[in-house]
Symmetry: C2
Subunit: 223 residues, 2 copies
Amino acid sequence: MWRLYQFPLCPFSRKVRLLLGEKGVAYDLIRESPWEGQDAFLDLNPAGQTPVMVEEEKGVVLIDSQAICEYFEETVEKLPLINGSAAGRAEVRRLTAWADQIFYRDVVAPLLEERMKKRLVHRAPPDGGRLREAMRNANTHMDYMDYLLDHRSWLAGGTMSLADIAVAAQLSVADYLGGIDWAGHEPVKRWYSALKSRPSFRPLLSERMEVIMPPDYYEKPDF
Amino acid sequence: MWRLYQFPLCPFSRKVRLLLGEKGVAYDLIRESPWEGQDAFLDLNPAGQTPVMVEEEKGVVLIDSQAICEYFEETVEKLPLINGSAAGRAEVRRLTAWADQIFYRDVVAPLLEERMKKRLVHRAPPDGGRLREAMRNANTHMDYMDYLLDHRSWLAGGTMSLADIAVAAQLSVADYLGGIDWAGHEPVKRWYSALKSRPSFRPLLSERMEVIMPPDYYEKPDF
Ligand SMILES: N[C@@H](CCC(=O)N[C@@H](CS)C(=O)NCC(=O)O)C(=O)O
Ligand SMILES: N[C@@H](CCC(=O)N[C@@H](CS)C(=O)NCC(=O)O)C(=O)O
């Protein structure tokens, strides 16, 4: 059985879990807080980051959400998620990288720092200026998503792909942390509502991270 | 004909160029300085980053070095570089992400900021403390590479792969900027010397970035 080392608000672990859910791969969850820098975890992943996936019987350790997703895309035929022509697959990977790197850097990383780490680790109040900047960035990035969704049914084209999963994973963490203002983003709202209704998304939405509580509407597909 | 938008010290563009060189794909270089935020470039890539590859006749625009490398890996059969079993390919992608994200974040990004951007853009002196920290990080990361190369011929296993290319691309930029102390890293030195001798590497090593000059030994395969 696969084991996934993660914590409930790690967006990269959510990306992996959504892909595994869509593909019907079973796994156990192991709770890991990478900021604690536990020796046993650093032995597993020298980069010290979640997610890590382990299948002990096969002797396989997978590290980095994209490497993990590509692995299951290659080994599980059900529902291709890096799909289409070579240029189409490049577009899926471009937007996946955009979610993992740009949206994460501008929105999710500062929200996690200010609203989760400062609370759980540093016991310090959040920096209001940084929170407002993250929310402004979210708004700009959602304008770009609105633009894409005005031209396409899904973010990378005509079918659901890893790009939708990666962006929804980041967005769901930002939403949990109160960083998303949905007003004026109808296309993104409709798209996200469809994703939230999928069985792969339900378990993620029902989990909570210790003392940090999401907004009331967070779990509702209709919000 | 493919066109590659890049600048000489962009490590992600070097990664793409090394892969294209190994695979024998021809391309033209277009000089782009992403920090200038030119409108025409932002229209091409909303993320505002190099590298971008364009093939006008085919109407194809490729963005993000990993998406670009996966595209040419899928479309050009010559010399597979994301190679081996599914688990082997995951190891190639793990180390490629380690180069692109961890080595870049800890070593190359601060060196580019302090030694290139401060000189060309801000006209400010570099921060000595940040430079020393980047060099210490380089040393730690090269210890990890020494360890891998004590157990394997190439970074991800028995054959050369995209992992070697991605790490060499980052390392070569750090070396250009005087951030690498080679003493005590014999395994990495031997490995890098072999890569430097490859025809794909030669054009990169002979290019210069305006007023910024590399150390004397920078181009020599034997250093
Ligand atoms: N490229 C990695 C990024 C993973 C990542 O940044 N994970 C965060 C948690 S959300 C982490 O472990 N941060 C701790 C650290 O970077 O030291 C992936 O896609 O898996
Ligand atoms: N994930 C991207 C990263 C590219 C990247 O960070 N490029 C740098 C130049 S080395 C850049 O354009 N930075 C400008 C910016 O991020 O605004 C890739 O692999 O292509």
